[in-house]
């Protein structure tokens, strides 16, 4: 398969994957007992009022009609719908929550990369010593601990002694203040900087520390392993031996020959980790009351609000599939062997 065919194949496959995923979520939500109107029940609201509310949401129609309505509204009208009870456009909700998720994932990726690459390099440099054993142990432990549990541990043992806030993106007063700043991209980091509000920025940094650290530590294990393996591979090559033979210091060799060669797999892996990253973000957001798309999905599931869950998952799915498409294509471009597999 040539590059062109490969790209075409991947591009055509993407909507199919999306379609399958969205259908799966649609069915999954309907299989769960209860519907969005359940939240209103348990009060003596007249049955005819509840029935009317169901009809307004189209919940009285047969399932297959609801399914086609959903697909029609998504693909033809490009409308994610409205929440069941409050009737807020889901697109607005997702758009207002997306920056929080992006902030968290970017910060976590930076932490994961910094921690993971450092550990990977150290264990390549100090092979078969305590350092390497520690790194291997660390990598397998952090990746196997559930991320929400890691979050709870950090909350319990780090937040209290160090005085870090554990809930939300900002303290409530600043939360309101940031929405009235002159520049509003939704990214607190940018908005507070643009307005020169260092107090808000510091408050934000205090709030993001623990959730970013949780997700970052969780992902750093993979970074550490990939870095170690790539560096080790490079270190056994002839050109590295030659460099050593020329008397270049070991650390310089590791950094110049090992790390440079490891960068491509690390970058690829980062791309491939997007799905894991976003999945981890859902749990981290829930643990830390971080108002991102993940928390929105969680709330949507509890409320059985089909539109919220489907809308948020659609956006997630688009993000994940597009990223993996870009990564795949780039990778195929860089490494022709991929295309023929």
């Amino acid at each position: 398969m040539g590059l062109k065919e490969y790209v075409l194949y991947r591009v055509l496959l993407t909507p199919v994957m999306l379609f399958v995923l969205l259908s799966f979520v649609f069915i999954l939500m309907r299989v769960l007992p209860g519907d969005p109107i359940t939240m209103l029940e348990g009060k003596n609201i007249p049955e005819e009022v509840l029935a009317r509310r169901r009809a307004e949401l189209g919940l009285d129609k047969p399932l297959y009609v609801q399914y086609f309505d959903y697909l029609y509204s998504l693909f033809v009208k490009r409308d994610l719908g409205e929440t069941a009870l409050e009737r807020i456009p889901v697109a607005y909700l997702v758009a207002s929550r997306l920056p929080a998720t992006i902030e968290l994932t970017v910060a976590a990726t930076l932490i994961a990369a910094a921690l993971g690459i450092a550990l990977g390099l150290l264990s390549a440099r100090y092979q078969y010593t305590g350092v390497q054993y520690f790194a291997r142990f660390y990598s397998s432990v952090v990746y196997s601990v559930p991320v929400f549990y890691l979050g709870l541990l950090l909350q319990a043992y780090l937040a209290k002694p160090l005085g870090f806030p554990t809930t939300g993106r900002l303290s409530p007063v600043n939360m309101v203040a940031v929405d009235s700043l002159p520049v509003r991209t939704g990214f607190v980091f940018i908005d507070s900087l643009a307005a020169g509000r260092l107090d808000i920025l510091l408050d934000y940094l205090a709030h993001i520390s623990l959730p970013a650290l949780t997700l970052g530590v969780y992902l750093s294990g993979v970074f550490s392993r990939v870095t170690y393996l790539s560096v080790e591979d490079a270190m056994s090559q002839d050109y590295t031996q030659a460099a050593r033979g020329r008397g270049i210091r070991e650390w310089t060799v590791v950094k110049r020959y090992g790390l440079r060669n490891a960068l491509i797999p690390i970058l690829t892996m980062t791309g491939l980790q997007v799905a894991a990253l976003l999945g981890g973000a859902v749990l981290t957001e829930t643990t830390f009351n971080w108002e991102g798309v993940g928390l929105l999905v969680y709330e949507g599931i509890l409320k059985r609000d089909y539109a919220i869950v489907q809308g948020a998952v659609t956006i997630y799915a688009v993000l994940v599939t597009l990223t993996s498409l870009v990564v795949d294509v780039l990778y195929a471009y860089v490494d022709p062997r991929v295309r023929y597999e």
């Binding site: 769960l32 007992p33 209860g34 519907d35 359940t38 939240m39 209103l40 029940e41 348990g42 009060k43 003596n44 609201i45 007249p46 049955e47 009022v49 509310r53 009870l85 409050e86 009737r87 807020i88 909700l93 207002s96 909350q155 937040a159 005085g163 806030p165 554990t166 809930t167 939300g168 303290s171 409530p172 007063v173 939360m175 309101v176 929405d179 009235s180 829930t286 009351n289 108002e291 928390l295 929105l296 969680y298 709330e299 509890l302 409320k303 059985r304």
Partner: protein
């Protein structure tokens, strides 16, 4: 010109004296107290629908509306007394079917438009016409309303209802006047509300994150001490507790777990304000169609076994709840401890065993049952409560209980589809009247939502009768109803929940009372300087 020596001294003395006087004045003069201009209230509640009074029907949404609006009648803070609010006076026709109500002339909407009788009538008509979730609260009451003059409303009732019953319905948020000039003829969408007459108005609302209220400059009544109120939503009790302990919120109201509150009291860094438990009640429901709970003796045996005091003392530390022996809570008109009279206030194992034996159960053939609860909707202590009830019932030696739980949506569909037979529920009143504690549960024409399947024609008739009777007779009828349903025991009342708020120490003015309205406009925080 050289200054004489004495003159220099005199100047020095004068300066020192002046400084001393000013310093003394500054130090001793009474300083006006300073208040924080913003109070942050944290909660795990959420606004489920809108902030339009014609549609809102969840605790928080309604409570916010109660801080942004007012009705013709309302409750005096700290008491259960219904007082005139936007109404000045009223007369009732001899046949009790026509009310003529005079309203205040100095009340204005947020935009400065004066309140008129026409506006009140228009608001009611809008609510009835839009027929949203809580509309029946006034739609079932009012036949017709008309503005006789700018400040007089004539209300024709559907039936000659009792006086406090009518006033308590007109005090509900559903009957709050809204500004006809700015209110659309459809339900408003979030993040928005409608213009009402109240101490606060909506400043901003980010769904799922926060709601910000600011003092309404056109309010006729006393201005709130706190200019801004921010209501911050938390996902669960754990996050809320962390937030109040970290000082991110000034007041945490609804809902921390009783165990958390106990911890907080022990640490002593925050204050815990509690109020009477009255409106939110908790109870156990049987589907009386399902075997063996279709047998009255089985239900009665269970009523004999439940130890309300144990629940209240161990789970709620005896402070945040009190045992309840009738679905009509203590403090409401006609309340009677019928369950206490019928079954006592301590478990009576012998009486229960006798009934169970009559119903065909024994130690070797125990009654096997599932007890269902939902862990998220009510108190976080729900699993502990279910465990105590299990222990109570199993003490008989003739019952084996399996505890089961599900999230609210699943739980709701389980009892709606009548797949379960015994389950725990809670009730928040729609309006503060005993009728709202008997009709939705026991009247066969109104209790369909509960799936208890209880139908007793005598009870139905008595429930219909009591709202039309003069107060004295009504009390007697209510007592009669409570006695009958205590004997039938389709529902077992368990406890009425106390209310509590956890606040920073400088926060004052938290009033938790029978009305269940959390009044933001009374809360303030003193600050140094």
């Amino acid at each position: 010109m050289p200054v004489p020596k004495l003159g220099k001294k005199a100047v020095a003395v004068a300066v020192v004296a002046l400084v001393a006087v000013v310093a003394a004045y500054v130090a001793l003069a009474p300083k006006p107290p300073k208040y924080k201009n913003v109070i942050v209230i944290g909660t795990t509640d959420s606004v489920q629908t809108t902030l339009d009074p014609c549609e809102a029907y969840d605790y928080l949404g309604v409570n916010i509306i109660q801080n942004m609006g007012e009705g013709l009648f309302g409750y005096e803070p700290g008491t259960a007394k219904i007082v005139n609010k936007l109404a000045v006076s009223y007369t009732i026709s001899p046949d009790r079917k026509v009310w003529e109500i005079k309203i205040r002339r100095d009340a204005k909407f947020q935009d400065g438009t004066p309140l008129t009788a026409q506006a009140v009538v228009w608001s009611w008509e809008r609510t009835i016409k839009l027929n949203q979730d809580p509309a029946f609260l006034i739609a079932d009451l009012i036949e017709k309303a008309e503005a006789v003059s700018d400040d007089t409303i004539r209300v024709y009732l559907k039936q000659p209802f009792e006086e406090t019953y009518v006033k308590s319905l007109l005090a509900t948020w559903v009957a709050f006047p809204v500004n006809p000039k700015t209110t659309p003829m459809e339900v408003v969408k979030p993040p928005n509300t409608v213009d009402m007459i109240g101490p606060y108005k909506l400043a901003s609302w980010k769904p799922g994150e926060y709601i910000e209220l600011v003092a309404n400059p056109n309010y006729y009544g006393e201005k709130p001490k706190t200019e801004r109120i921010i209501i911050r939503f938390y996902k669960d009790a754990q996050s809320l507790r962390l937030a109040v302990e970290n000082g991110e919120v000034d007041v945490a109201f609804r809902t921390l777990s009783p165990a958390d509150v106990k911890d907080i009291i022990a640490k002593g860094q925050l204050q815990v304000v509690s109020g009477p438990g009255i409106a939110p009640i908790r109870y156990l429901v049987f589907n009386v169609k399902k075997e063996p709970f279709n047998d009255k003796r089985v239900r009665q045996a269970i009523a004999y076994l439940i130890d309300r005091n144990q629940i209240v003392n161990t789970v709620f530390m005896g402070t945040f709840a009190q045992p309840l022996y009738s679905m009509v809570p203590i403090g409401f008109i006609g309340h009677k401890d019928s369950f206490k009279e019928r079954y006592g206030d301590k478990p009576n194992v012998e009486a229960a065993r006798q009934l169970l034996r009559q119903a065909g159960f024994s130690e070797s053939n125990p009654l096997k049952m599932e007890l269902w609860f939902t862990p998220v909707r009510y108190t976080p202590a729900e699993p502990d409560i279910a465990a105590i009830i299990k222990q109570n019932l199993e003490a008989s030696g003739m019952i084996k209980v399996e505890l089961k739980s599900a999230d609210w949506a699943t739980y709701r569909s389980l009892f709606k589809q009548e797949k379960i037979a015994v389950w725990l529920l809670g009730w928040f009143p729609d309006f503060l009247d005993s009728d709202n504690y008997v009709r939705p549960f026991y009247h066969s024409g109104a209790n369909g939502w509960l799936h208890v399947n209880y139908k007793n024609p005598v009870v139905d008739e008595l429930i219909d009768k009591q709202v039309l009777q003069p107060t004295e007779e009504r009390i007697k009828t209510l007592a009669q109803i409570q006695d009958i349903v205590a004997d039938d025991a389709p529902i077992i009342p368990l406890w009425q929940e106390g209310q509590f708020a956890v606040a920073q120490k400088n926060v004052k003015g938290i009033v938790l009372d029978y009305s269940q309205i959390f009044r933001y406009y009374l809360i303030y925080a003193e600050v140094q300087g």
